[in-house]
């Protein structure tokens, strides 16, 4: 496993050349692709997320690490069969109706993908009806909603109401976030959790799904 240590360090640094070379090296020394993903790339991104939440790493560094992981995945991909990669869970994410802000939502999606979740990004201005339709279609474990305006926060509540009316609220966990959103608001609208930043989104998602 000592060779994965160099890979982890390269991903945390965001050094694409070293990281892809280390990925290839790990494959050459007959490591399993799933192991390289789990114990190398995902382990590295987990550390990036934790350091980011603590204020030890910053957004551009996080972006760079995620980009590096994506490049390493390209090296690994031929070694995975279609649908062969073990996912931590399926997550639908979107900015709620009436709101066009996507920066925070994109950071969360990127970090969750890096942590091994399968992400389905619905974009911005996503209506409660579209959330419900996609939940029925994709059957995700989590629905993640973002709002950057106090005026669009009520769309989070109505999305949860619409999920209830469709009889599928019990089938998914709901996670919310965005600058004006608070833990108190999450409890008020009966979301399952609130995540204050992209790093904690990963931790919280694992918590509500009961995975490590």
């Amino acid at each position: 496993m000592s060779d994965l240590k160099a890979l982890i360090e390269a991903v945390i640094k965001g050094d694409i050349n070293s990281a892809t070379a280390e990925t290839q090296k790990a494959l050459d020394s007959s490591n399993n692709a799933q192991d390289i993903l789990d114990k190398g790339l995902i382990a590295a991104m987990d550390e990036v997320g934790v350091k980011f939440s603590k204020g030890l790493l910053f957004v551009p560094q996080m972006l760079r690490s995620a980009r590096t992981m994506q490049e390493c995945m390209k090296v690994l991909e031929p070694f995975f069969q279609e649908g062969d990669v073990t996912s931590k869970g399926k997550v639908i994410i979107g900015t709620v109706k009436g709101d066009l802000h996507d920066i925070g939502k994109n950071l969360v999606a990127m970090m969750m993908e890096g942590a091994g979740f399968s992400m389905f990004d619905l974009g911005v201005d996503v209506s409660p009806e579209l959330f419900v339709q996609k939940v029925q279609e994709i059957e995700p474990d989590i629905v993640a909603m973002s709002a950057l305006l106090s005026t669009t926060m009520p769309s989070m509540r109505s999305t949860i109401e619409t999920l209830k009316q469709a009889g599928i609220r019990g089938k998914v966990k709901v996670m919310i976030g965005g600058a004006p959103v608070t833990d108190k608001y999450a409890r008020e609208i009966e979301a399952d959790c609130y995540a204050p930043d992209a790093g904690s989104a990963v931790t919280k998602a694992k918590e509500i799904l009961g995975i490590s």
Partner: protein, 266 residues
């Protein structure tokens, strides 16, 4: 340079508490400090109060104007809150803000044409956020044209080119700067305005980044700014750069600010 003091915002804990308790004297104190530090408008924002936003915003308007003879910047993405708060305002307020988002534009236009006011035109398109200079200029120009068609004079329009974090895309700084220059050039007499803190999201030493960005914005022609005028370091940057750009005859504003203890270099 028109300065809008940003401190009366319920996203700040002390302000939220004061509004909850109805502590008028604290609100007036924060408003007066900003006025003394050079604010031309006092921004009032109660967005975090959600259902109680309108009521709280109206209370803030009355509370500040009962004691201070200054116009306010009524700050909300919610047209209903703005249309109520404007009724309580004495003189010409600045309305922050209208955008091209269909519903927001439609509901706010009658409010801002119903009485004389200044208006911030945020470069947010119908269905997306702008990314490039061209996007911003297209949205800004469209807003200017529609607002002047509705009878609002150019000099009362403040285009906000929308500041996005440089941490996410390193082109975001020059995208805003380029838009400021182009809009000021294409529409002589119009104002441009922006807040500073979005630029530094996701980065360390945010105050330094904000101050540096302010200098650049001024050199690209920014004519109004939303900031904390009691931040002496930030005001020092503003006044020094204005002086260096030949906007301060006999360096009087800078020197007076120094002599009255309103600026600091640390």
């Amino acid at each position: 340079m028109i300065i809008v003091g940003e401190k009366i915002n319920t996203s700040r804990k002390s302000i939220a508490e004061a509004v909850e308790k109805g502590d008028a004297s604290y609100i007036v104190k924060v408003a007066s400090e900003q006025a003394e530090a050079g604010a031309h408008y006092i921004d009032v924002n109660a967005g975090t109060f959600l259902e109680q936003e309108t009521e709280s915003l109206c209370w803030l308007v009355e509370t500040v104007q009962n004691e201070l003879d200054l116009p306010l910047c009524l700050d909300s993405p919610n047209p209903n809150a703005l249309s109520e708060a404007i009724k309580y305002h004495k003189g010409e307020p600045m309305i922050n803000s209208i955008s091209l988002e269909t519903e927001r534009f439609r509901t706010l236009l009658p409010v801002i044409t119903s009485q004389p006011c200044h208006v911030v035109a945020l470069c947010m398109a119908e269905t997306s956020m702008p990314t490039t200079v061209e996007d911003r200029v297209r949205v800004g120009a469209e807003l200017i044209n529609r607002l002047t068609d509705a009878g609002i004079p150019l000099k009362k329009i403040y285009v906000d080119p929308l500041v996005q974090p440089v941490s996410v895309d390193t082109q975001m700084g020059i995208a805003t700067l380029g838009a400021i220059a182009k809009i000021m050039n294409d529409f002589p007499g119009v104002n441009t305005i922006c807040g500073l803190s979005n630029i530094s999201f996701g980065l360390p030493r945010r105050h330094l980044i904000n101050r540096s960005f302010l200098s650049l914005c001024l050199s690209y022609g920014l004519s109004a700014v939303i900031l904390d005028p009691t931040d002496k370091q930030l005001m020092a940057t503003l006044l020094a750069v204005e002086m260096l750009l030949n906007h301060d005859e006999y360096c009087q504003n800078f020197i007076t600010a120094y002599q009255t203890g309103r600026i600091s270099d640390r």
